[in-house]
């Protein structure tokens, strides 16, 4: 399965990463060879195999419904690139 320019544009869009034309050309080759390697998977038949998500037969632990976290706003806002009135500022969101 080869990846073409259109594919690269689409996935770059989904991943929100700018890819220049030159980068896109380089990627086409590099990702192409990676995908060829990945296609080796199709060699083996897996019709009756269950996908493995976790090594051991474990199930989700449940947390008691209590408030344990305190206000860390001070620190959080300090780490942010742009804040105003205790909110994280970004360019206007248009719907």
């Amino acid at each position: 399965m080869s990846i073409n320019q259109k594919d690269i544009q689409k996935i770059a869009y989904l991943a929100r990463i700018n890819v220049s034309e030159e980068e896109s050309r380089i990627l086409e080759t590099k990702l192409g060879s990676i995908m060829t390697m990945i296609d080796k998977m199709q060699e083996v038949i897996t019709d009756n195999v269950e996908p493995m998500s976790h090594a051991l037969e474990v199930t989700q632990p449940l947390r008691e419904d209590v408030v344990t976290e305190k206000d860390i706003r001070g620190n959080a806002l300090e780490l942010a690139p742009e804040v105003e009135q205790s909110t994280f500022i970004v360019p206007q969101v248009i719907e």
């Binding site: 990676i34 998977m41 996908p51 360019p91």
Partner: protein, 484 residues
Amino acid sequence: MINLSLKSLNQGLLEKKFSSVELTQFFLERVQKYNTDINAFITIDEEKSLAQAKYADTLIQSGKQSLLTGIPVAQKDIFCAAGWRTTCGSLMLDNFIAPYNATVIDKFNQVGAVNLGKTNMDEFAMGSSNETSYYGPVKNPWNHDLVPGGSSGGSAAAIAARLAPAATGTDTGGSIRQPASLCGFSGLKPTYGLVSRFGMIAFASSLDQAGPMAPSAEDCAALLNVMAGHDEKDSTSINHDKEDYLVNLDQSVKGLRIGVPKEFFEEGLDGQVQQVIEEALNTYKKMGAELINISLPNTHLAIPVYYVIAPAEASSNLSRYDGVRYGYRAKEYDDLMDMYFKTRQQGFGEEVKRRILIGTYVLSAGYYDAYYLKAQKIRQLISNDFKKAFQQCDVIMGPSAPSVAFKANEKKSDPLAMYLQDIYTISTNLAGLPGMSIPAGMVNNLPVGLQLIGNYFKESQMLNVAHAFQQETDWHQKVPKGVI
């Protein structure tokens, strides 16, 4: 002092031969002296380290110390440490001062160990040579023209050059074991779920595990005692009974059944490395172990499967790096979309972007079944291979890496060639099994690592088997020339 085991260092502290402050200062000086050359550390904070050392000394004074109290440990810069810059080797987090401690860091703090500094690593743990770091490549202390392996290259170089007596790393596809092999020391990746991932910056969630890196298996056991344990903040953390990994080190390996997978000795393995491994296996035979030929038939699919699952999970895990709440944000942008696109283009390096794109692709509409789902199914097959093998043997052995350390820039522009470095280690992560690498010999004066793979939660046995080898041989005590 640089060749003292953790046990001996502990002894020294107890006997007041030196204090933790002195010990820490000693290693900090070594770091100051040698780090410019090998670039093993990204962040050093002498004030913080010494403050911890002072605290450790009070613990020792009042008799409240344990084995790791007062011992300086180099921390891979993937662990969030409160108040410490935590970069994960990336420009994305260049200005990120972690607001909390990873559970692993907490555990070290609780026993009074000292954070010696944050070590260099491949960006977001993606790499096998420590050449993708924003902070520059790490050099192999055995030969500065060569790579130390990755992604835990900084911790690896720190151990090899004895800039620290102990270090932590993480292993998603071999990132502890391969550098351990290339740099000549002992490294362990625990069973998935044994060590908490809370606070460990995520790469591939179902594969990542933190582990110890130190000269000897015994040292690793001491470190694992601190690191292991159930954490309710990590849903994937296993509720396993607490073990003392030092207790069974000295068991005999007579009668031990060692499985040798034929797939680990096929084309791609350097002939001289193969010789070293075979000799190591012979040593075990002499110690009374039995070598059994086994097969892990789906080994050749491990890399394709890994390079679907790991990038897929990574592409999602790295979506939070968007310049909104912390970390890097592009300086100029026209609107929100532009901010996202530019921030992520500028903040991430090439390999990271490549893997995010692959990951996005294999999860995208129409491709999920053929790629991600398929990979998870083959993962089951790989896991089954091991289950079958462990019916015939107690531990599996083979090479950790297909070659010794290679030249810097040699594989940098060929992702596939780089990925092949992990050919023997990846299946262990896919199955969630514990694995180790210990020094087994030299080729052209460069270290070669022997890989051990144990069954689930058999770290104690694996460490015992490794320790036995280290009683018979002294490869793990070899230090690069020029390291004084």
